[in-house]
């Protein structure tokens, strides 16, 4: 492994140093037998499994600390509020944001992006304005913008992809222009794995005063995300794709923008003073958090972040790069298997989409499941991209911290077995 993957202590990171067996033991579900086989979980881009510390934190919260947040003046309410806000502060540190008021808790990346669409887009997108998207967006970062554009008479421009699955920036001067009001792009693609040059594109868009939204759902779980370096204006991700519970997401936004935005939901918690004539809204971030939030899951997310930090995001990235390289090599040994997205692991994450020339992805998935292997098959909520790729669906294996070379070997063996089974 190259030395640039060295961790902070300067010690070179290798797969050996990355104790996957120990990590695996922290995830109770990985002991499950599925259809008589050891579970090989390769559907991490959809959602990851949860370590014992996260599961325990949920139980602990309900057993010892449960109360509503921000409202009560009793011990449990204080504990609950403290736990809730502790996670917010932790998220801020995790993405290198000094101002915790800029960290808004949502129910997921989808809601986070929609919050920007409603809170910012509704008031700032005008007829004729241009919204730039990429061809590899998840529906979560596509549908809200296209719908907004239709409503406002704005124009959608798209950054195409190259045959290798990178963004094609050859005509970028014609795509990001003075008309650009918004650039929304994924930091990493859930289908191709591609890691995009967000900082470079954000800089370009900012030259024209555009606002930049980064969809970090597939990046924040897998690498160090430093908001200051990315230079975006909004950034969204989901806790459940990074060891945390479902129902928790994050929207980070620049304070100046957030302060000028209208709330997305109205109700309790998001107000300062309410009267019949006049209502004043609460400060950031609570202005955007109407109603009782998902307290227990937010509290438990803190443990997920700690777990990731204890391993180290740079080491996680190094582990995934090594494993992705191995997976790409193994899969390409199988004749006919077509792999989507970049081949060099430097510019891609650990979501690997592939197709077989005759066996439909759904048949692949069903067969693999019978061998205890969980992958995903379908359009992965990226139909525009599927059209570009000329596929109706792909199979996707996506890796995470607890995956090992033996998981890839199991996938390889099962794919060979599958071809025999279907007789192709």
């Amino acid at each position: 492994m190259s030395t640039d993957a060295a961790n902070k202590t300067g010690k070179p990171v290798t797969l050996d140093a990355f104790d996957t067996e120990r990590i695996k033991a922290d995830f109770p579900i990985l002991q499950e037998q599925i259809n008589g086989h050891r579970l090989v979980y390769l559907d991490n881009a959809a959602t990851t499994q949860k370590p014992r510390v996260v599961i325990n934190a949920l139980i602990e919260h309900y057993r010892k600390n449960n109360a509503n947040v921000h409202r009560g003046l009793h011990t449990l309410a204080e504990r609950s509020t403290e736990g809730f806000e502790r996670t917010r502060a932790h998220i801020a540190r995790f993405i290198n944001v000094p101002d915790t008021g800029e960290v808004i808790l949502t129910k997921g990346a989808t809601e986070a992006i929609n919050l920007v669409t409603y809170g910012w887009g509704e008031h700032n997108i005008k007829p004729g304005d241009e919204i730039v998207l990429t061809e590899m967006e998840h529906h979560a970062n596509f549908v809200p913008w296209v719908t907004l554009a239709q409503k406002k008479g704005a124009v959608i421009r798209r950054i195409p992809i190259t045959v290798c699955g990178h963004l094609d920036l050859s005509d970028i001067d014609k795509i990001i222009t003075p008309k650009t009001k918004l650039l929304a792009l994924c930091h990493a693609s859930n289908v191709l794995g591609t890691i995009n040059q967000v900082a470079e594109l954000a800089k370009r868009a900012h030259e024209f005063g555009a606002v930049v939204v980064g969809d970090g759902a597939q990046a924040a779980p897998h690498m160090t995300v430093d908001i200051q370096q990315l230079g975006v204006d909004f950034y969204a991700f989901s806790a459940h794709k990074m060891l945390g519970p479902t129902g928790v997401g994050v929207l980070w936004g620049r304070r100046e923008l957030l302060e000028n935005m209208t709330p997305f939901n109205y109700g309790g918690e998001m107000i300062r003073e309410v009267g019949y004539e006049r209502i004043t809204f609460n400060d950031l971030p609570w202005k955007f958090e109407a109603g009782t939030p998902n307290i227990a899951d937010v509290v438990a997310f803190d443990e997920a972040l700690t777990y990731l930090e204890d391993i180290g995001m740079d080491r996680i990235r190094a582990h995934e790069m090594a494993l992705t390289k191995y997976a790409l090599e193994r899969l390409s040994e199988i004749s006919g298997i077509e792999i989507q997205g970049p081949q060099d692991v430097e510019s891609r994450g650990a979501a690997i989409s592939f197709t077989d020339p005759t066996i439909h992805p759904h048949d692949i998935s069903t067969f693999l499941d019978s061998r205890g292997i969980a992958i995903r098959a379908g359009h992965h909520c990226a139909q525009p991209l599927m059209r570009t790729l000329g596929k109706v669906a792909t199979a996707r294996a996506s890796l995470y911290i607890y995956n090992t070379e033996s998981d890839i070997d199991a996938l390889y063996d099962a794919l060979l077995e599958m071809r025999k089974y279907f007789g192709v």
């Binding site: 259809n35 759904h362 048949d363 069903t366 599927m386 089974y421 279907f422 007789g423």
Partner: protein, 163 residues
């Protein structure tokens, strides 16, 4: 689930998948109908040549999963030479069989019976139905005197999405 797997992908089904029947084009397409399962991406196109009341010849081509391909192939094999009414009744029977509704399975169901295992995989039922739904739509339109083309989707309006 391994035993279930063999239940769904019975040898007869895999045989139809490997070498689908009904490949030969028809001389005259009196009925022409396309069908799709958008969430799976299955695509099917079907043409029938009529001789009075009888489905004289059928051509079907299907791009999709093993179940949709095999089901389309079985349809092509079974309906040839049957009357309009017979095929309509058969389509009803197949639908009921796949949805697990009580129905008497006729003796001449042939290979189609092998599709029963699909019932254990609810998301796949629409794959097995695709060819039949497409045929029935085409027949309806023919009956109503509309020559030309019909297009159907098995998923219209049910709002199913996929992550």
């Amino acid at each position: 689930m391994s035993s279930n797997l063999d239940d769904m992908y019975r040898e007869i089904i895999l045989d139809h998948f490997r070498s689908p029947r009904g490949k030969k084009e028809v001389d005259r397409a009196d009925i022409s109908s396309d069908g799709q399962n958008p969430s799976c991406g299955d695509e099917l196109s079907l043409q029938v040549e009529m001789d009075h009341d009888v489905l004289k010849d059928v051509h079907v081509s299907c791009r999709g999963c093993a179940i949709s391909v095999a089901s389309a192939s079985m349809l092509a094999e079974t309906i040839k030479g049957k009357s309009f009414e017979e095929v309509k009744a058969l389509a009803e029977t197949v639908k009921k069989m796949l949805k697990g509704e009580p129905t008497e399975l006729p003796d001449d169901l042939g290979d189609i019976e092998a599709l029963q295992g699909v019932r254990q995989f609810p998301v796949r039922i629409k794959c097995a139905l695709l060819a039949w739904v497409t045929l029935v739509e085409g027949m309806k339109s023919y009956e109503n005197g509309h020559a030309g083309h019909t297009t159907v989707s098995t998923e219209d309006g049910n709002g199913k999405t996929e992550k």
